[in-house]
Assembly symmetry: C2
Homo-oligomer: 410 residues x 2
């Protein structure tokens, strides 16, 4: 194969230019899905795609594809990319490096004057983060037929603005039907969002799969009496029961499986006054493991803990599993390709399982898929202080380039 190589400085310039859009004072970006800043980022990306000679198409979900033809135009393309929407005041790396890294892979082929056998396509999926419109991974979800288009259009943000309307407002409701094409395989480079790579001082991981998880909503209802005259033995305190369950999450994660993690992330207390016993608490539970049986066991145990806590405190309760996703092993062929690409690049690498979900999860249902992780310093993500060494991003992109080159020649 002819030598194809990245231009790290061009890549870096684009990365810096891109992240001026919606830049925050503390070094992050604020470009939530379908915001004005997200539109500006999309405009820039489309411009760069066209400058790189890509044929741009935008589908009815606003997913942006850039196509570079192969010597065999009819062959199923190699697809790679990620997303460019951000958390509110999120980091500069999450999603962005996968899309701009994909564009750099295209530029590397351009520079080398190499036309691959299969067409190459770079993609930026809509609404991956799910902070403005729930659920997350909505663009890839519709593409992979997990959600209906109408369902997606009807999602509303907190100001009751609909996804479909906002997509039209920013001019990204495209013409191309949002449905799965015949894809040869899909790769996604992403920040790890965990600490393992940095702890082991390794720049790249081949991702073997994604944790399964369960999301639960719990509501406790007690009695909102005055915190002064109500004796302790007459209280029905919804927050005390919430504290009990929170402690139980730590007990369960300590005993139920080495990779099990559990989190109480969202907690709303009513009436939330200093001198009133909490009447109602709504809170969430998140359990994850690569072993579905471990998640099941954790959910079963926490249901018992919720019931016990409610009984102790004299409360009504509801517990509802609002999402349950099984562990998702990626395609062994794609994993092997990433491993071989890392060996070709000559970098240290390891194999990891992802604790977080990605667009790659949905793509994995319709095409052979794997991911490439690069380190997240201190394991931090979804925050302005999210950081990855530039050298590691370049190394990850080189691995992506090699994996794409291999698959495009199949």
């Amino acid at each position: 194969m002819p030598s194809v190589s990245l231009d790290s400085e061009r890549f870096r310039r684009r990365f810096d230019t891109f992240n001026k859009i919606g830049a925050t004072e503390r070094g992050g970006v604020n470009r939530p899905s379908l915001s004005d800043e997200n539109k500006a980022a999309r405009d820039t990306l489309v411009e760069w795609f066209r400058e790189a000679g890509l044929e741009v198409r935008i589908d009815t979900m606003g997913n942006i594809f850039g196509r570079r033809d192969g010597t065999d135009s009819d062959a199923a393309p190699v697809l790679f990319g990620s997303h460019i929407d951000s958390q509110y005041n999120g980091g500069r790396y999450d999603g962005v490096i996968g899309v701009l890294g994909g564009l750099e892979v295209i530029e590397a082929f351009n520079d080398a004057g190499v036309t691959t056998e299969r067409p190459l396509e770079v993609v930026a999926w809509s609404n991956e983060e799910g902070v403005r419109f729930q659920p997350d991974m909505l663009g890839s979800g519709v593409y992979c037929d997990i959600f209906d288009l109408d369902y997606a259009y009807e999602r509303e943000d907190k100001e009751s603005r609909r996804f479909g309307d906002e997509l039209e407002r920013i001019g990204y409701k495209g013409e191309t039907p949002c449905e799965a094409d015949d894809i040869h395989c899909y790769f996604e480079m992403h920040v790890e969002q965990g600490p393992f790579l940095e702890q082991q001082d390794i720049p790249v991981a081949a991702v073997e799969g994604v944790f399964g998880f369960s999301w639960l909503n719990v509501t406790f209802e007690g009695q909102a009496n005055h915190a002064g005259p109500t004796p302790m033995d007459m209280r029905h305190d919804a927050f005390v029961a919430t504290a009990d369950v929170t402690r139980a999450v730590r007990r369960i994660t300590a005993t139920e499986g080495t990779d099990l993690v559990g989190t109480v992330g969202s907690v709303d207390v009513w009436p939330n006054a200093i001198n009133v016993i909490p009447e109602t608490v709504e809170f969430t539970l998140d359990f994850r493991s690569y072993d579905d049986a471990v998640v099941d066991a954790a959910v079963e145990q926490i249901r018992e803990e919720v019931a016990h806590a409610a009984e102790r405190e004299g409360l009504e309760y509801e517990i509802e599993e609002i999402m349950r996703v099984d562990a998702d092993p990626f395609d062994q062929g794609c994993i092997d390709t990433v491993v071989e690409a890392a060996e070709t690049v000559g970098c240290e690498y390891t194999r990891l399982v992802s604790g977080a979900g990605h667009d790659a999860n949905y793509l994995n249902k319709i095409a052979p898929t794997s991911m490439i992780f690069v380190p997240s310093v201190d394991g931090i993500s979804h925050r302005e202080s999210e950081f990855t060494e530039w050298d590691d991003i370049v190394t990850g992109t080189e691995v992506l380039l090699n994996a794409v080159q291999t698959k495009a020649a199949e």
Copy 2:
């Protein structure tokens, strides 16, 4: 003394008419301080005061006084009353029965054609509840020189509307300086807001004093990482530490003194997302006892628990005591007067200490003071389902009448 007696039906009619103002669908009232509904309630009260022949004066804090002269105009008056502002969607009894009961006492003297030696004054204090403008008991607080008038005027609600501006808007910024007059004594009839009277099936209590309390604000700061890829041993979860402290409150109240109560009432979690480890939690602690040493010991213990929880979880923390009020025994003479009044009425009675604060606490600093409690069914208060049997309110008002009559003759 000539026979002076209440007209229970007139009292009831007024109570029902009054509580149509700001009535909620579920049987409560919504008349927070300086709202339009609070203005309407004030207008009605002033009209009734005037119809009962009272000389109305409104002070610069919007406290409303109604004066009935005595045979000795220069003698210090006997003052009695409570407040008419409500919680958001609060109950119909809290405060209201003390003010309308006071008006009924005046009417009883009118009916009997009896002029007391000392003047009588009924009062409705501004902003007792403290739900819209903090702190609570603001009207009686300025009157008793606990707060400056300017401080009170500058209090803001959540929409940044100032107390002084809102008081002017509803037309209740009066001319009379808000400062303590020479008062012979103060009585306040109020719902117990606790379960003791109902549990013992007793209609009336002479209140001997009010619990001391400490209010603390605690902030834990950890790291908001992704709930999936962050292993349990690398977490800095501000909510787990909050759960630890909440459990510790229960341990401390179980061991540190029989009347000690402790509550975590307000809890705010950031970023409050299902899949993000809580970075920051701000929460409140409320400890109360009639023994100041017991409150001190609880505060000392919880400070240690906060520090330990922060250390275990690897968090920064702040703990601040935002209010500390000592236990407040009422005047023995006034307590005895209430007891004697209950004996004259011939009702069952007991003696109680109040877990909740009242305007009477501040009045107790400038004049001999006591309170009369009537039962709260199920100990419920600050909610639409707050309820007191009408017969118990009448009994409590009879005790108030007799106590006032005794003191007005001194």
